[in-house]
């Protein structure tokens, strides 16, 4: 029985079924073509980055440009690390990333717990305010924040880039709350009857269950910190404190850097992000769709 429907159907109907499968085939092929072209276009910048990173300096001036390097210069990477103060920038970026990720995971877990696992009057109104804060454009707070941190003598330290992450982030609160609401409240009630306090419930019941959502927050916070440009640009002024983002940019604007070395350095910057992306693709995609829930 290849197609059970066609057995009972009159001749005319079979034709439509054939036409339908033909149409399905055609629309699948159209989609395939669009997606292949689209994927190639989206990957082109990365391809060009790696290809340029491997070229010899002389090959950069060849016209028309070569797609694949004529001579693969893997030592461009070690040269880039020596040309830029790459390791220092990388270390600074790493320190900021680690601490702001810890801040994001810890603070948002507590906050989201308060917004989801405890029922209290006024909770949902305040949560509305949390969501509303997403709509405040960052430039409005930019200058006063700078003044606050300047008064605290925190300019040229990592603190302005780390400390705020310990005070919650509307997106992560939203995401974690959504997740914590799915855990039945009865679990908490049963524990309360057994005499557990909220801290114990959070530590022993909710934390183990919330791991997947916390992982998503950790990944996003880490990538946001690693990629951050404006924050370091404003708060870090001493070259020894620079992160990769402003370090590479400042170095590039002050010295005449060969583009193959800049691309080699960029490849090294992007590599951890790509590895994390490929390893946690599922987490990325789930988070993206949570954003669309109205």
């Amino acid at each position: 029985m290849k197609n059970p429907a066609s057995i009972q159907m009159p001749v005319g109907q079979t034709k439509t079924a054939a036409a339908r499968s033909k149409r399905l085939f055609r629309s699948q092929m159209t989609s395939r073509v669009i997606l292949i072209i689209g994927s190639l276009l989206f990957i082109t910048p990365l391809f060009w980055m790696v290809s340029t990173a491997l070229k010899e300096a002389e090959e950069l001036g060849v016209f028309p440009p070569t797609l694949i390097p004529l001579h693969w210069r893997f030592d461009n990477f070690s040269q880039a690390i020596q040309t830029f103060p790459f390791l220092r920038y990388a270390w600074n970026t790493f320190v900021i990333t680690v601490f702001s990720t810890i801040g994001a995971v810890v603070s948002n877990l507590f906050i989201a717990y308060g917004f989801s696992r405890i029922q209290w009057r006024g909770r949902d109104v305040i949560f509305g305010i949390v969501v509303a804060t997403i709509f405040v454009p960052f430039p409005v707070t930019l200058i006063p924040l700078f003044i606050i941190f300047a008064k605290l003598h925190w300019i040229n330290t990592f603190l302005p880039l780390i400390v705020p992450s310990f005070f919650g982030n509307a997106f992560y609160i939203f995401l974690l709350r959504q997740f914590l609401l799915q855990i039945p409240l009865e679990i908490s009630e049963a524990a309360r009857i057994d005499g557990a306090n909220e801290m114990q419930i959070l530590r022993y019941l909710i934390l183990p269950l919330a791991r997947p959502a916390l992982a998503v927050v950790a990944i996003f916070a880490a990538i946001a910190a690693w990629n951050n440009f404006l924050g370091p640009l404003i708060y870090l002024q001493d070259e020894s404190q620079y992160t990769l983002s402003i370090g590479l940019q400042m170095f590039r604007s002050e010295h005449d850097v060969q583009f193959n070395l800049l691309m080699a350095a960029s490849t090294l910057v992007v590599l951890p992000v790509i590895v994390i992306f490929l390893a946690f693709q599922k987490a990325f995609i789930e988070n993206i769709t949570i954003g669309s829930i109205r």
Binding site: P45, F115, A150, G168
Partner: protein
């Protein structure tokens, strides 16, 4: 309220207390403070001198202010719809049952998580008038070479193009929206003999409008804040053609020592963003379909 209810309010507030502190210190105080600062002459150091609405008057007479506003609106009005169309096309294509979808999804989404500054470095070389890949491809099909970042007529378009690398992220949100459309609607249309185009126009598009609204609101906010790409690729030039609003604001605050003026600019941006968002929400009553809950 009973004693237990009071206790719960106390507990809830305790858990969200990091957010409350962050909200007051990093958001409410800065917003109020920048409102006051916008009425003063302030270099960032020393005292603020109250000058009333002078900054605002100066702003409206400042031709660079208008240039930066124009550039930003130009960018936003172009980048948001183009991005939405690309994302919808990719989402429609990904909504087919193809075995290799995960590959396309990874390729299309990956560029959205890469640091903007690194992508900007790549684009400088990708769009190089002589040695760039884009002009190589264009000359292959007989198009003239374009000095993308060096020509005021093209520089904004180059940055719009760069922004499209983020479209994969929105494509996934649209895809989630597409998957939420009940198949029965298409089956019913099929029986009535509707063409693919009619189905798209009368079922898919109306039911995607809530996601389109989300995309427009988010895109609007991000578009008005465009900064980093221009800082790296063009430094605002050529002839101020990519001097975007936040870039000019940044220059005033951190390069020209006109913090009061920059604060006035930030408040004006705040008001514009709110008005545009309200306008979109208000108009959405006419074009967003909430009848079938996806």
């Amino acid at each position: 309220m009973t004693k237990k209810e009071w206790n719960n309010v106390f507990l809830g507030l305790l858990f969200i207390s990091p957010w409350i502190v962050g909200f007051l210190v990093f958001l409410v105080y800065p917003i109020v403070s920048s409102a006051y600062m916008s009425l003063t002459e302030f270099s960032g150091f020393g005292d603020m001198t109250f000058i009333g609405t002078n900054n605002y008057q100066q702003m409206f007479n400042d031709s660079l202010f208008w240039t930066s506003l124009y550039n930003t609106l130009y960018y936003t009005i172009l980048a948001v719809p183009v991005g939405a169309i690309i994302a919808i096309v990719l989402a429609l294509a990904m909504n087919q049952k193809l075995v290799e979808i995960p590959i396309y999804r990874a390729a299309l989404y990956l560029p959205s998580v890469l640091p903007v500054y690194a992508v900007s470095f790549i684009f400088i070389w990708l769009l190089n008038p002589r040695y760039g890949l884009v002009n190589l491809a264009m000359s292959a099909v007989g198009l003239p070479s374009i000095n993308w970042f060096g020509d005021p007529a093209w520089a904004k378009l180059a940055i719009v193009m760069l922004a499209q690398l983020g479209a994969g992220q929105y494509a996934l949100i649209f895809l989630a929206g597409l998957r939420g459309i009940p198949q029965t609607l298409y089956d019913a249309a099929e029986i009535d003999g509707a063409s693919s185009l009619r189905k798209f126009w009368h079922i898919t598009l109306p039911l995607l409008t809530p996601v389109i609204l989300y995309d427009v609101i988010v895109g609007l906010g991000l578009g008005l804040q465009v900064f980093e790409q221009a800082y790296i690729t063009t430094n605002g030039g050529p002839v101020d053609s990519t001097l975007f609003y936040v870039f000019y604001l940044y220059n005033n605050a951190f390069r020209y020592g006109q913090m009061g003026y920059a604060a006035a600019m930030s408040w004006f941006l705040f008001v514009i963003s709110l008005l545009l968002a309200l306008l979109v929400f208000w108009s959405s009553k006419r074009w967003v379909n909430y009848e079938v809950v996806a």
